[in-house]
Amino acid sequence: MGSLAVRSAVLLLLLLALPLALGEYWAFQLGLFFLYAIAALGVAMCWGQAGFLPLGQALFVGLAAYLSGAALIQWGEAWWVFLLLPFAALAAGALAFLLGLIIFRGRSESGPYFAIITLAISLLAFQVANSWNEVTGGYNGMKGIPGLPGLEGFSDVYYLAAVALACAVALCGWLVQAPLGTLWRAIALNERRVAYFGYDTAMLKAIAFGLSGVLAGIAGALYAPQQGLVTPELVGFALSADLVIWVAVGGRKRVLGPVLGVVLVGILSAELRERTYYWDLIVAAGFVFVVLYASGGIGALLAPLERLLPGRRKALEPLRAPAPKAPRTAVTLAIEGVSAAAGEVRILDRLSLAIARPGIYCLIGPNGAGKTSTFNMLTGELRAQAGEVRLDGDTLSKPTPYRLARRGVGRKFQIPSVFGELSIDENLRIALWSGRTSLLDWLRPAPRRWDTPVLAALRGRYPFLDDGARLASALSHGERQVLELSMALVTEPRLLLLDEPCAGLSGEETAQVMAVIRWARDTLGLSVVIIEHDMALVKQLAEHVFVLHQGRLLAEGDVAAIRSDPRVHEVYVGAAE
């Protein structure tokens, strides 16, 4: 993290030196915009990292501002009022976290709906602030807020804002590079896949939202003494909208992006709005342009410059990762009489099958037999209306991908769904961290260096995995299948569900994958269930075959028994009835 400290120090020095160059008037203006930049950082963390956009962020700015203003009016003379300001910020953060948990755990997962909910909540807050005269001063606002004790003049406030901004930038920079940042970026790419690795994605997103609330709260808490006045407009739509525009134009993926956005667009607006009518039109057009063509914003242009800065990370020594927390015994799975339907169509019809010992099982059957649906039922995507599933003897009720991953059940999908915009290393680490890490681990840098014997062995078999910095999207289809299989194996599951793992692979690649599956069975002692259409593969790999037909188990046994079973023959070759 040395480079981060260096960069933050450089930023701080730059900020502190500015008033010397620009004078008192600018110190006051900039101070306010630094506060906005802190709030904008929060928006960028949600949007650029975790992939959801809060459209009503001014709610938290305003809340902290009102709290801080009230505290200052009440106890403004006391020296300890400084300590209350962080509380105001934390209150805003706590509210954000709670709201995030409630919303993300609720039904609507889709991004646009979250944005509109936050917008609606902030509008509601505006209504409250506008009419609750006794507490907020209503339409006229909270007036006569004293400045912070000990700070006089515009410059002092400026320095406080500058320091706060530099600290916020450092904090965000740290989180972006920490495992938490990687997890957020993975959620933005494919939230469902992250849940399949056993992460509570709602909690992770709520943490990001909570962080943004704290940052907005810091801005609000310092706003009150700086401006001396808090009006309901602060909570209103205009600031929330501006924050989004500043972040979009400045760049939401880079930590300095929002700062740039606020400084360039915000300050320019303040100056130019008076002079040209057309400035707002230009900003609006620029925003649309950024959304359409330049989602990285101005910050994306910074990327080449970043490489010039000191502090390039050296190659790191690997650390031995802790063991997974899931139980290590061989898994037993019993599906009994499970039925599931979607409307009129019977997808699973009193399906019963059991896996009692480790081995390689194949699940075959004609189209619509219910093979993928069986997997979906196990991981909770398809709800069973009757029957029971027992994992290790315990009944599985209301399964979710997250819960199953925690019990050592891994799944690999037919179409490779690796995280394309993350590097191979990050992809593998996300898998590695699952089931072995807690919140604290996500904040420290050490887990980025973890390694396990399984991962090392996979790297040995597939040398391309060693090229850790390469983006997953740059891999060929076959390499992506292998990467995803490796990710599934690295979690050291007890039960692995593979859906056509060799789809689209060449003959050679298929042979390699088969070898890995056998090796995994031998080394990890796991049970693998493979859905396959390729009979050659089934003949070579399967120790036991389940044949499904019309949602039910038609036959089971070893390959020879299946081949000679007349019912199986009838299903595959006989005329459709």
Binding site: L53, G106, I116, L124, N130, F237, A285, V291
Partner: protein, 284 residues
């Protein structure tokens, strides 16, 4: 019948019916096509301002109708081509791009017409007796027009071939292409029609509301709430959403005050967004 009660009921009915017409355009664009058009309100505003211009030029009020439709259609075509079509599978970015468009349009209107309120003369200024209670004639006319418009649109959607093709495209895009429907063009035309309805709604309500550059904001938010609560893609959803939102707001405004009315609407919308984003009649 107690004339006061009749007036109250008529007021509520008026709110609901006009709300339905305001939402109509977004019901087509968002409810059918799935395009989150945050500039919907600005197209309503455009219609209102076109009406203002027509009236200032001394033209009969009806002239505003084709003028507004033309203006909206002319603007809708490049918007569909450059903003909507490239972002069809990125609903989030559509939200942002149309929001940027709304900012742009708002500012353009402000530059062109100034930031103040414009007031239009009501085309029909008498008052009529409805069930013994006096009620402004224009409002009665408006309600009748809205009802006719909505009924006609529903009928067209249910019975006409074009309506069936839109339904086909919305329900099963690939099969629609397989049978030969040019889905790109059909989606574009549907989008333009939706925006023209927004303009038409603007012409209709302009004499009765305050026409100012920021009028669109209110409309677009309310429209989203109506669709979220009522359900997307279903005419019944539109009507029930308008009834719920419009009814609750006017009732609460009458009982308490405007703030309470709006706040209640917000609470209902938040609840549905959180728990039942498909609304009362939408499909999950």
């Amino acid at each position: 019948m107690d004339p006061l009660l009749v007036t109250q009921a008529l007021n509520v009915l008026y709110e609901v019916v006009t709300l339905a017409v305001i939402v109509l355009g977004l019901a087509i664009v968002f409810g059918l096509l799935g395009v989150m058009n945050l500039a919907h309100g600005e197209f309503i505003a455009l219609g209102a301002y076109v009406a203002y211009v027509c009236q200032s030029l001394g033209l009969p009020y009806l002239a505003a109708v084709p003028a507004a439709i033309a203006a909206c259609a002319l603007l809708a075509l490049p918007v569909e081509r450059f903003l909507i079509r490239p972002l069809y599978d990125r609903p989030f970015d559509t939200l942002l791009a149309t929001w940027g468009l709304s900012l742009f349009m708002r500012k353009a209107i402000e530059i062109g017409f100034g930031g103040g309120y414009k007031s239009l003369k009501i085309p029909v200024s008498d008052s009529v007796l409805v069930l013994g209670a006096p009620f402004p004639a224009y409002r009665v006319l408006l309600m009748a027009l809205c009802a006719v418009l909505i009924a006609a649109l529903l009928l067209w959607y249910r019975r006409s071939v074009a309506g069936a093709r839109v339904k086909a495209m919305v329900g099963n895009r690939e099969l629609a292409q397989a049978v030969g429907i040019r889905t790109d063009r059909l989606a574009r035309d549907t989008f333009v029609v939706g925006l023209c309805f927004a303009g038409l709604a603007g012409v209709m309500v302009a004499p009765l509301v305050s026409v100012q550059p920021y009028m669109g904001l209110d409309y677009v938010l309310r429209s989203f709430f109506v669709l979220v609560v009522g359900g997307l893609g279903s005419p019944l959803g539109l009507l029930s959403g308008a009834a719920a939102i419009g009814g609750v707001e006017s009732a609460m405004s009458a009982l308490v005050d405007r703030t309470a009315g709006y706040s209640t609407v917000l609470l209902i919308a938040i609840f549905f967004l959180w728990r039942r984003p498909h609304g009362i009649f939408g499909r999950s």
